[in-house]
Amino acid sequence: MSGEGAAVLQMQGVTKVFNGQVMALQAMNLTVNEGDFISLLGPSGCGKSTALRLMAGLMPPTQGRILWPGGQRPGDLGVVFQEPTLMPWATVEKNVWLPLRLRGESFASVKDRVHEALALVGLDGFAAAYPRELSGGMKMRVSIARAMVTRPRLILMDEPFAALDEITRQKLNDDLLAMKAQIGCTVIFVTHSVFESVFLSDRIVVMAARPGRVVQEIAVPAATRDLAFRTSAEYAALTRDVSGALGHAMEAA
């Protein structure tokens, strides 16, 4: 399930300093392999979002390198932010069309793919709705459909479910894993929830703040991710381990 594929992305000693004085991320090393689900877990200020923005190419690292297999960051990187970040003037299907539209694809030529992506997130019936007509969870599903419509090899998610209620969040966690299995992508997932990270990830990268840095990588060797796993002793033990690691990281800071 994890770590078996070729490297999708490598971070080598990546450091980010803001304004020449604030050390947001210190010497981060990370290898992401094809098919991985990796969580970056840590308190606010630990640089997890900074790491994600660096991977997305939204800013250059101050030091170190980010290596992609083809040499260049892929243009079809899927990204999901904490807010749904939809265009309010466009219907659901037009929002999902965006990444393809920016590549010059007409709506008619990709309509099937757009609707496929909507079906993937369970929103088949809402193609013509406007974002304001949807609930928070549904908006987030649109955002995920948009990230998946290009069938990217890598999807970056920045605390996508943090603003949702627990029940919606658990449902989306289940569905996210199902979607990932279906399109076979790699996911890097930023979260501050221990439970979410254990449930979703193959590997958890525990980070600490001031300066933001990686303190530990914890593998989550679970074969299935379902209700049985969520209620198992194994899950409880894993969350305890991860909480402990996070606690140590906080003390050390």
Binding site: R53, G75, R132
Partner: protein
């Protein structure tokens, strides 16, 4: 979206439906009554104190004058309406064009923004004589005047809208390697639309002000004269009822333009923008 209310199920809902119906009627009835009352007060005042019509004509006299002079005033109304609409059109082109230019090139903004501000803060009355000195064509004179007062709200509002796009959406466009042009067309312009429409409402009123002021100063006579010239002309002849009649028509032009920009705003925004959505309570 107004849904047909289903049969009320209980007295509470019935009461609420009644309140809603009354509210809908009152929304029209109260302002209509206010207009009728103020016209009535005006008529009563003229009648009770026996005010001579060259000081303050009665509403009936003004209405009569409007009918008598309709041929002349109707043409003037059409001229003023046309000039105002043209000025607004030019203000939209200039305002949006400059906003896009400033947004795309900070050098252009640094060069031209001071002049835009100077044009905005210098009273039109002070500029108008100079414009008439240098510009020959009467229509061009009036249009330039109206444009100077009307373009700025569109420029400043649209500029604000183009700048205030959601940061995450901007990031998303960068991640997908959108070109500047794509970002402008698919993100910034739609984002700026509600801001632009807000500016358009202000500019609509101002373009009428510009058209009227310009005509006051330049005074086009003959068949191409608008309402402002008719007011001036009537004042020289001490035809106060006609001044009132023409003034009412100027107000009508203003209301028409406001209604048109409001309708446009609603048509473009009602499906998605908060400002145009009526919430269920």
């Amino acid at each position: 979206m107004v849904l047909e209310t289903a049969t009320p199920v209980d007295s509470d809902e019935l009461a609420r439906a009644q309140i809603a119906r009354r509210d809908r009627i009152m929304r029209w009835l109260i302002p209509a009554l206010a207009v009728v009352a103020s016209i009535g007060a005006w008529a009563l005042y003229v009648w009770a104190y026996d005010i001579p019509h060259y000081q303050l004509p009665s509403p009936a006299r003004v209405a009569n004058q409007l009918l008598v002079d309709w041929q002349m005033l109707g043409v003037a109304l059409w001229v003023t309406l046309k000039i105002t609409a043209m000025a607004l059109g030019v203000a939209v082109l200039g305002g949006v064009g400059l906003a896009i230019l400033f947004n795309q090139s900070s050098t252009a903004e640094r060069i031209f923004l001071p002049y835009a501000v100077i044009l905005q803060v210098t009273p039109l009355i002070a500029l108008a004589p100079l414009i008439f000195l240098y510009v020959e064509a009467p229509l061009a004179r009036v249009l330039i005047c109206a444009w100077i007062v009307a373009f700025f709200p569109i420029l400043s509002n649209t500029t604000l809208g183009l700048k205030s796009t959601d940061h995450n959406l901007t990031d998303l466009f960068q991640i997908y390697r959108a070109s500047r042009w794509q970002r402008l067309i698919h993100l910034q312009l739609p984002w700026a639309l509600p801001y632009f429409l807000g500016g358009l409402r202000i500019a609509g009123g101002l373009s009428l002000v510009g058209a009227i002021v310009a005509e006051y100063v330049v005074g086009i006579s003959g068949t191409s004269s608008g309402l402002a010239f008719r007011i001036l002309e009537a004042s020289y002849r001490l035809n106060v009822p006609r001044m009132f009649a023409a003034m009412i028509l100027v107000a009508v032009v203003g209301v028409l333009i406001y209604a048109a920009t409001s309708a446009l705003s609603w048509a473009l925004l009602h499906k998605w923008h908060e400002s145009a959505i009526r919430r269920e309570r």
